[in-house]
Symmetry: C2
Subunit: 131 residues, 2 copies
């Protein structure tokens, strides 16, 4: 598979589109646990999806202490810039709105603009512990 087809494949997944949606709609860099809580997905899944996106060159990740902050590339090549623009134009579904709302709440817990917590919600498989 060519590099370009791989990039498309990285986008062919709802969870990964949700991750990118959050990264694109916030100026900030987001760490794994913030994404995990926002998406209400298990941490190991979020981590795996982040890896796929990073390998496709669609996000970048930088470690800061125990945390790894992910963000959209500052200078993507033309092809990936086009792809990211396509993701930016995704229709705002209920799910994406909820993700954004979760993220807002989660970001308000930062201190000095940095995450100081881990995953808060119950690592839901079916949301047993959420309520």
């Amino acid at each position: 598979m060519t590099e370009q087809a791989e990039a498309f494949r990285a986008l062919a997944d709802d969870t990964r589109l949700r991750i990118l949606n959050l990264l694109l709609n916030t100026g900030s860099e987001l760490c794994c646990c913030e994404l995990t809580d926002s998406l209400e997905e298990p941490q190991y899944n979020v981590s795996k999806h982040l890896k796929i996106l990073r390998q496709a060159g669609l996000i970048e990740g930088g470690q800061e202490g125990r945390w790894v902050y992910y963000s959209v590339p500052k200078k993507p090549d033309a092809f990936r810039k086009g792809l990211l623009d396509s993701v930016r134009s995704l229709p705002e579904t209920r799910r994406l709105k909820k993700d954004a709302k979760n993220l807002d709440r989660r970001l308000s817990l930062r201190h000095n603009g940095k995450c100081t917590l881990g995953v808060l919600h119950g690592q839901p498989s079916g949301d047993k512990n959420a309520a």
Copy 2:
């Protein structure tokens, strides 16, 4: 999977990208056999890929007699238009150039701007009959 992720998935395949590349770079509509010969892939595969692209809303197909002509949608929605633009910006690999060359040759066999032939090459699995 959302409709948008499905569209990305449809693009996550080299053969399908090659098909779109040909459709985007020719003003003309192309029939299945012309694409088959240009790509040097088996007819049944091309047909299957065309189906996936059509279901994703990335191409349209219209029957004319025994032939089915495929083309890029005239009025795609904003999201798909962005995707098609991304495909348009694919780097010109050797493979894509060869496809285009094959297509040129194949198009020169049209009569009155319409295809009058079926698949010409040896339905290669490994190009046994090609030489």
